[in-house]
Amino acid sequence: MSIPGRPKPVVTALGEPFWAACNERRLVVQRCLGCQQLRHYPQERCPLCYALEYDWAPLSGRGEVYSYTVSHRPFHPAWQEHAPYVVATIELEEGVRMVSDLIGADPGSIEIGQGVEITFEALDDFGLIPRFRVVKD
């Protein structure tokens, strides 16, 4: 279920490679070349070893719900027709977290620990964006 009219990502210079990879259906995050620590969201420098250098590491796109909220009130016009909708914090297998409104989640039975996987969806006048959908057991 694509949702047109959602706010477009305000892309920063640091985030640009993340979105470029999404356009190729790849999910990547910064990896510090000093200590190999993965990090998200993108930032200038590693907060652990202070290295400037990083590359972009591919992720599996699999993870689980770390927390969530079921929004009954549409807080943005794009979700007007979709309430109640589930917005979740996803913890990926590799340990970094991302936020997504979930696809295929039952607002009445969604739980922390629910397995999810990545899917890429077109956003008009932007490109592909990463969303997560519930994995059926």
Binding site: P7, V11, G15, V70, S71, H72, F75, H76, V99
Partner: protein, 391 residues
Amino acid sequence: MSLSGACAIVGIGQTEFSRGTEASTLDLHLEAALEAIADAGLRPSDVDGIMPNELAGTIAEDFILNLGLENVAFGSTIRTGGASLVSAVQNAALAIHGGVAEVVLLAAGRLGFSSQRVSQTSRGAIAPHPVMRHVDEFERPFGNTVAAQWFAQAARRHMHEYGTTSEDFGRIAVACRKHANLNARALMREKPLSLEQHQASAMITDPFRLFDCSLETDGAVALVVTSAERARDLRQTPAVILGIGEGHGTPPTSVTQKVDMTTLEGVRIAGERAFGMAGLRPADMDCAQIYDGFTWTVLAGLEDLGFCAKGEAAEFIRSGAIELGGELPVNTSGGLLSEGHCSGGNLISESVRQLRGQVEAERQVPGCDHVLVSGEGNFHEGSAMILGRAS
């Protein structure tokens, strides 16, 4: 040269809280400012420091212009959302203690109902804010658009880890409402609330129901801070700043990226600093005014400020401890949940009134010598202050 006991809050001003006003934000700030200055027994020309509040969008020049201030030596604005005001008191105290200024005026509050609705934009923002850059790039596009959703996820995780329930949140809402029902200034003074009504209220963003959310409010509060020495000669019993601190959790740009989103890390650190400076413990507090943007932030605040061990606030609340007459009355004005949301300003004005003995008799905490007041803003940034009644 410790800051403990060096400065005091000597004047408070508070406009009527409403849901709809013709006044501008600045009109409200100026009204509260003049009241606070008069309350202290000072004149506007005595003010030489100005700390406008970032959420209101006012600037020092607004006050210089309208109050004819010719002697301003210090102006500064803190940018940690709802944590800003208590942090601003810290900065005011530093400026005074350092000899840069003598009388600092602080004002906060906004048209939270008439124009800056936090239910409609992130933070009720008047302008894009740099601290929102991660949310604007990676969260708003995915529906995580307002603060209620950020804190709801923290609350949900707390429920998962500690067994906290919606009824526990409801008991906080009910306690605040009982206090508001005794407060002539409170928006909800004539509206009782039962736990059943809380549980039946509309789900806003799970687990937050309507009555878990603070009140979008038009209004302003102003404070006057000066040295404890000068305070002795002024009109009111000084509320002496015995301890004060701020804290910044990491990462400070998103709730979802917190290592432990169930802890208000900035509030926890701020509390440790404030208690450490004062040389006091949570058990020494006669009441607490804990920043209540949502019911859950009171529950987490009780834990993170050290009034309860982590995961044990729900039991503390169930015992009735946070109600007037209980072990630790919390948010005795009704707080942001039931008096009105004035960027935390009314938590400070209430603290000062409790110490002065200037609230309705049914609301007065007996023998109120020490009050803790906290701030919380943005993504779990925190501030905390311990005020004591001057002897």
